[in-house]
Subunit: 456 residues, 2 copies
């Protein structure tokens, strides 16, 4: 591949890389500018970050930029249509996680500092660093080649960290703005061994809050044998959903689940899985499965988790009561083809089947399906080939990230990778990235762009 | 019975009753004196109530009185040995429940007031009113007949409301002081229809705090299918203990349980059981059983209750985690012949059988056996016959109270009744008793004493 890329023009990718290196200071300056705006959506702060971003888009790369109002924080839409065959969509967000616990930060979260080859501050990894890398990769490409070899769109929302409540509305109202051939999703990070990684999608979810109320007050537990106890009802319901064999017992739950293909299993084999590192990080004794079974279950099987239980007396010492109410929070992680609406119906039928439907209330729920690009995606191949060029070794391809997200709204291959690393502390105190990774990520992106010169 | 009792001396019970009526003011004055001392053991307050009681015993009835130190609040021991064949022990306590919620009291809890035929204040029912009734019944009896027809002992402890932590120590260290033929236990109350009641005992208990920790921190729930979740372990353990048929599945759990006898079933038939009143009080739709089955289960069957569940995220909204830890509080209510130590061993074997023994920790437990006088108790007959005389209708005999208590320490028939009524608000704001009931209780006690003139 190298020769092909290097010789397509009198200017070469090497020229772009040199420009990218010269952008280290100005790109960090722009990142610092964004980090200084405390755009914590959970605290309704920093909406002005949208305006700062508009300026950067105009000043640095001359993209057509719009601020589009939603029922919440505005969306930033930026685009450059060069009349190419292929359109790339970048999905990002300008909001950040809250900074708690503040006392664990070694420097103020909204006063970025550079130290030991890293830049520290809330959002440097998730997701402002990636926005800046994407903008400066475009800037460098334009500086060398004059124009881009593909059309590029950005959608940058302001409430990703609180669950993207208005992204759905935006995608419905502006279908043309979100039309593209493929999408590079917000972020990603190198693993602990330094391997660059790419994710093909996100898991789906169906989250349920359950509640059973059997009395108007707690009752003396001497009545335990003759009065219904909502805690027992909850235990019996939960046990009926999943027994100790870990199989989910809701009728039809697994109907849509597909076994991984031979190619997918081969890819799983290539994913490093450092169980010892997880044991240490989580403080666990082991996993429920091992080897390829473990990876298959993690990436390709749905799950049912009890996230929380609340009932009766929880303080120190002993209190003898039949609780008046019991509550549970549960989530189903969904794989491709599982539809949360369909599964909610199946869950309700399960309640009926076990005669819990008149007792157990679903007080709230939310859900969305998974999204997953195929392993055969042509865009994945471009990302992996380009990445191997820049990073000097093959990328690790994960079928899905750990989390869920509204990726299903975009009807195209959405691929996640970015400028983070294993110890970036995203969502935690002392969030940081390696400056080296910021530059490498720009080079990776420029190499991807360059691949599309073939299509013009 | 009436003629027999009325004619055994030139002085009659009627004379005692007249004296009792004349004691209304002085007995209320003494009760007010005690109520003014805020002897809330849970708050380490009011230990001086012991000294006030000592004075009352000496001044009013000339009993030999000792203050006996324990590792906690002192015990008051008072006795009058008249050389009679029979010795009666009164068990009482001078501590009271905390007053929270204070703002629901219509008058200050430690400033007793008399209003509308009732006296209000913390402890007027539980248990200071009963102490005063017992002392003034003796005083009246002595005033008429010169001396008692039976030996009487009092043990009055100061920490009943926090679980009698030192009563065990006292009974072991002073076995001779607690020796008697029968015991009248601290208190009791008339039912909502005005029937006077007597209780034959208390339930036993085995209370367990259970804990499972599977990780050092909460883990993202996308790992739900491959990492052990302590909430599921807890659900599966609890379900193995008791399924939806309500049967406790611990091997040998029911071995010692005895079916009620024909006489006991006949007595159960006589106990009013106003299900509608319970529905209203508890806010429940119904009981798990009906009729005689319901009463039999309530009084004669052991039970297993989940008192509390704690696990993972319990706040508003959704959080997707595998919790690091899950906890449960459970209690077994025990019936005669069930031994909490034996049941604890059986519980541990159950943990082993289901392979939970290495996962689930019993972080704390406490237990004691039930205590129950037989329905054929001669002392019960005296109490019932005397009560019918005073109250004009048969007493209701309950095989046990709702609660548990350290009654098992006293190796004799312990029978509970007292001066309370259905709306006495014991343990709640606006605790009160009817002054009429205080006087009737004294008459009931005097009638019981009088019965023992036959034995002299």
């Amino acid at each position: 591949m190298t020769n092909k890329l290097w010789q397509r023009s009198s200017m070469t990718l090497e020229d772009v890389f040199q420009i990218i290196e010269s952008y280290q200071e100005p790109s960090l300056a722009r990142l610092e500018e964004l980090v200084r705006i405390p755009s914590v959506s959970a605290e309704n702060k920093g909406i002005e970050c949208a305006d700062a971003l508009m300026e950067i888009f105009k000043d640095e790369i001359g993209f057509q930029t719009q601020k589009i109002q939603t029922s919440g924080y505005p969306m930033i839409y930026a685009e450059k249509n060069v009349g190419a065959q292929t359109t790339l969509l970048f999905y990002d967000h300008y909001d950040v996680q809250p900074v708690d616990p503040l006392n664990e930060w070694e420097s103020p979260p909204f006063e970025p500092i550079i130290h030991d080859g890293k830049i520290y501050g809330r959002g440097v990894s998730d997701n402002k660093g990636n926005i800046i890398a994407r903008i400066f990769a475009i800037k460098a490409y334009q500086a060398v080649f004059g124009d881009l070899p593909l059309n590029i769109k950005f959608i940058i929302e302001g409430q990703e960290e609180i669950g993207s409540p208005y992204l759905h509305e935006f995608v419905e109202n502006y279908p043309e703005l979100t039309q593209a051939d493929f999408c590079i999703w917000e972020s990603g990070h190198r693993d602990a061994d330094g391997n660059q990684q790419v994710w093909l999608g996100v898991k789906g979810i169906l989250y349920l809050n359950l509640e059973i109320t059997t009395a108007k007050r707690d009752i003396h537990s001497s009545w335990g044998g003759v009065i219904e106890n909502p805690a027992w009802d909850l235990v019996w319901l939960l046990q009926s959903l999943k027994g100790s064999d870990q199989e989910i017992q809701i009728e039809g739950f697994y109907d849509a689940v597909q076994e991984p293909t031979v190619e997918e299993l081969e890819n799983l084999e290539r994913i490093p899985f450092n169980t010892e590192a997880y044991y240490k990080d989580f403080g666990i004794q082991g996993f429920l499965k091992t080897g390829l079974d473990l990876k298959t279950a993690y990436y390709y099987a749905p799950s049912l988790t009890i996230d929380g239980l609340t009932c009766g007396y929880q303080g120190p010492g002993d209190k003898t009561i039949i609780p008046a109410q019991a509550r549970a929070k549960i989530d189903f992680r969904l794989v491709p083809n599982q539809d949360p609406d369909d599964l909610l119906e199946k869950f309700k039928k399960h309640l009926q089947k076990f005669h819990f439907d008149e007792k157990i209330k679903i007080t709230s729920y939310h859900g969305y399906p998974s999204a997953r690009a195929p392993l055969s995606s042509a865009y994945l191949k471009i990302i992996c080939d380009s990445g191997e060029e820049v990073y000097g070794k093959p990328l690790i391809v994960h079928p899905t990230t750990a989390g869920s997200g509204p990726m299903y709204l975009f009807k195209m291959d959405c691929l996640s990778f970015g400028c983070g690393y294993a110890f970036e502390q995203a969502h935690a105190p002392n969030e940081n990235i390696l400056i080296e990774d910021l530059i490498l990520n720009m080079k990776h992106l420029a190499t991807i762009f360059y691949e599309f010169t073939l299509n013009q």
